[in-house]
């Protein structure tokens, strides 16, 4: 039934479908909201929802244990990017206190085939990633904040995501237990 010769590359198809679906989502959000900041917020919220599920998949797949420090976390985030998006962002620009670092992306599958029109310079196209990181790390008792400080789509030489450790979340003791 199927032909000989050329075959579709499954990984590539999936990656492109993901990119295009995300693109469709962003353009729909741009249509629905007049305010670009609102779009950024929505994207982050969706990322958060994805992140809290993705961490389960990540832990099940890699079998990694707890992180000993934030540097360890950074390396695991890097390996997650390799696993899910096939990219290895560089970890750099550690703050002296060791609670802040940058992820630098040379290429980003999310922004393949993407060009930002002039009127949405405030749009953080990849803002879903900040949400994913926040959601995923919250599930392993870590409160972080992250934001894009450089963006390839806006003419910067690279894309840089700044991640800041805020605090360790403590498990609340269930009521009625000592």
């Amino acid at each position: 039934m199927s032909r000989q010769g050329t075959r579709l590359d499954q990984k590539k198809v999936n990656s492109e479908l993901f990119t295009l679906t995300y693109g469709a989502l962003v353009s729909q959000l741009m249509k629905d909201y007049e305010n670009v900041d609102e779009v950024n917020k929505q994207l982050e919220r969706m990322g958060y929802n994805i992140g809290i599920r993705l961490i389960e998949d990540f832990l099940a797949r890699t079998g990694t244990g707890r992180c000993y420090d934030f540097r360890d976390t950074a390396e695991k985030i890097q390996s997650a990017f390799r696993l899910y998006l096939g990219i290895s962002p560089q970890i750099m620009n550690w703050s002296s206190s060791g609670d802040e670092f940058s992820l630098q992306f040379d290429s980003n599958p999310l922004t393949e085939f993407v060009e930002l029109p002039d009127h949405c310079l405030n749009l953080k196209y990849c803002n879903v990633l900040t949400g994913v990181l926040k959601g995923a790390l919250e599930m392993v008792q870590m409160d972080i904040a992250s934001c894009f400080v450089q963006d390839h789509l806006k003419g910067d030489p690279c894309t840089e995501l700044r991640v800041k450790f805020i605090k360790r979340l403590e498990d609340a003791i269930p009521a009625g237990e000592d």
């Binding site: 039934m1 075959r7 499954q10 929802n49 994805i50």
Partner: protein, 158 residues
């Protein structure tokens, strides 16, 4: 590191779920799934152009449909369409007995009411892909029991 970036399979599932969630929560009416269908259409229209650029020309409509059921379907949904039926007059029924986007929901009638919104995107995907291949059609879906789903294609000839 592979030359082509990989997006792991589950990412598409997650983003699709968020998409459905977003459209469902923002639409006023209960049955407003046309946005989802439209988004699927856009994706399908774009992706098929890239997939088939190194592909030999399709012989006819049936050949195109076969391609959709085998190679296209298996590269996106990890399995082929289980059954393709046609009346040779422009109506096709594509049956997937274990459709990936609803396979984890239930195997029975639970969640039958919400299941359609999880296949609407795929209807659009099919319609968009075929539209770019020169076949204009209307795609509807039918779910009798989860996780099986039938896609009805009705080709518009002008």
């Amino acid at each position: 590191m592979p030359a082509v970036p990989i997006a792991d399979d589950c990412l598409f599932e997650f983003i699709h779920a968020e998409l459905v969630n977003y459209v469902a929560s923002s639409s006023k009416g209960d049955h407003d799934v046309s946005t989802l269908e439209y988004l699927g259409f856009c994706c399908g229209y774009r992706i098929i152009e890239r997939l088939t650029k190194d592909w030999p020309r399709f012989k006819d409509e049936l050949d195109t449909l076969k391609f959709m059921c085998t190679d296209f379907w298996s590269s996106i949904f990890k399995k082929q369409i289980d059954n393709l039926r046609t009346n040779h007059a422009g109506v096709y029924v594509l049956l997937d007995n274990n459709f990936r986007l609803i396979s984890k929901m239930s195997s029975g009638n639970q969640y039958l009411e919400v299941a359609p919104r999880y296949v609407t995107f795929t209807c659009g995907l099919l319609r968009g892909a075929l539209a770019n291949l020169g076949i204009h059609c209307v795609v509807t879906s039918e779910i009798k029991t989860l996780p099986a789903c039938a896609f009805h294609l009705e080709v518009r000839r002008s």
